[in-house]
Symmetry: C2
Subunit: 211 residues, 2 copies
DNA sequence: TGTGGCATTTGATTTGTATCAAGGTCCTGG
DNA sequence: CCAGGACCTTGATACAAATCAAATGCCACA
């Protein structure tokens, strides 16, 4: 009933519309849910990090294409037994509801980002999100000088933020030039002052609860 | 335990951060969930139509400001008893999970709209969404010549679509000039051909299941 | 029947981001 | 060690939408 699956960076986990008879939890790595318009314009609509849930109980086929943006390890459950588990075990069902509601809140913040933030604020916001998620895993709160892993290509960042990859590159360069971030290779960012980064993100300065 | 509340167009139902000890279901009218940046930029992050659910079990205070965009009737339940109901009655909990997952899907389509669509496509998409929701209530599928109620000011539309109200107005005028829509007063739109409107929305032409 | 206040439309101009087009960097494999 | 390719950066230009600024329509109410 439970098994592991491994994917390399860039590999597709499932295509939108394909039959999908498992649900999964991310153990390590990162994956993106992606939606497309007919002419090819692409928008990421979900970013899965360790501990995130993938799949929808009661649905036969995938609604979105899922792609590994870094090497990825999934812990999978066959869907049918999982659905039974939900029916028999209200605690698990209730936990899934809670996770879904949390995800809904996160997606609503993302709406604000896409609808109203400038390119620069979008980049800063993404880094803040990644820093917070990384810190939450070890039950800490990001502060002062920190490092952020960025297992996304410029193009994946652009698809997340509703920008072009050129604009992402330019804004990363600008933030570097102004000392808000430092780059260590292409996929690792040093943030000298997390507070300053939050300021650039346009959000309220107070970071919200650790929850 | 169950009671009704009525709000006039423009009235605030709850402010973000306020204590909220009820959950509710929309009986009639429309409401928007709204989020703001410190400098006042506003983005709608939820649009509540009849049958939609408002509030989050297990949460003390409102995460978003809720405003009636038209005259609104809510059917409210006190939160504590409702939470008990969820624990005692897995069928209701499971139904709430399903509704939440549906809402998550809707919000993900909204991400694509905000991130990748042009102003014109955004307007057309909003009209398509409203037409589909309206039709779903009477278990029909919109087709041919239809009328769409638009109980939103231009500003509310702009906040939904991540545009300015001027751009909304201009695009509405353009769609009217080109015969894609007709206006009957400011708050009622006639769509001569629903198919043509869907074409303008940039989405795949096939309308998806009725569900 | 006017009058004040809002929502909306329309016009002129600016601006942020997309688009088009080279280069540059780094890694992999011959 | 060099060649090829993927990814990234940077530059020049175009364009869609924002901004700034009136003007207009519409309704509630005196």
């Amino acid at each position: 009933m439970k098994f592991y699956r491994r994917f390399e960076a860039g590999q597709v986990v499932v295509w939108a519309g394909d039959r999908m008879d498992f649900v999964a939890s991310v153990v390590a790595g990162m994956a993106g849910l992606t939606q497309q318009l007919e002419d090819g314009r692409t928008q990421m609509v979900g970013l899965l990090l360790p501990s995130d849930f993938l799949g929808r109980p009661g649905r036969e086929s995938a609604a979105y294409t899922v792609t590994a943006t870094s090497d990825l390890l999934l812990c999978c459950f066959r869907r049918k037994p999982f659905e039974r588990l939900l029916i028999d075990n209200p605690r698990i069902a209730s936990r899934l509801l809670e996770m879904t509601l949390d995800e809904l809140d996160a997606v609503r913040d993302w709406l604000l980002l896409l609808g109203r933030k400038s390119a620069r604020e979008k980049i800063a916001s993404l880094l803040v999100i990644l820093a917070r998620r990384e810190a939450a895993l070890i039950k800490r709160r990001p502060e002062g000088r920190i490092a952020v892993e960025l297992p996304l290509t410029r193009e994946a960042m652009a698809d997340y933020l509703g920008l072009t990859l050129e604009t992402v590159s330019r804004q990363m360069s600008a933030l570097k030039r102004e000392g808000v971030i430092e780059l260590e290779g292409k996929r690792r960012v040093i943030v000298p002052s997390f507070q300053d980064l939050v300021l650039e993100s346009g959000d309220d300065s107070d970071g919200g609860p650790l929850s």
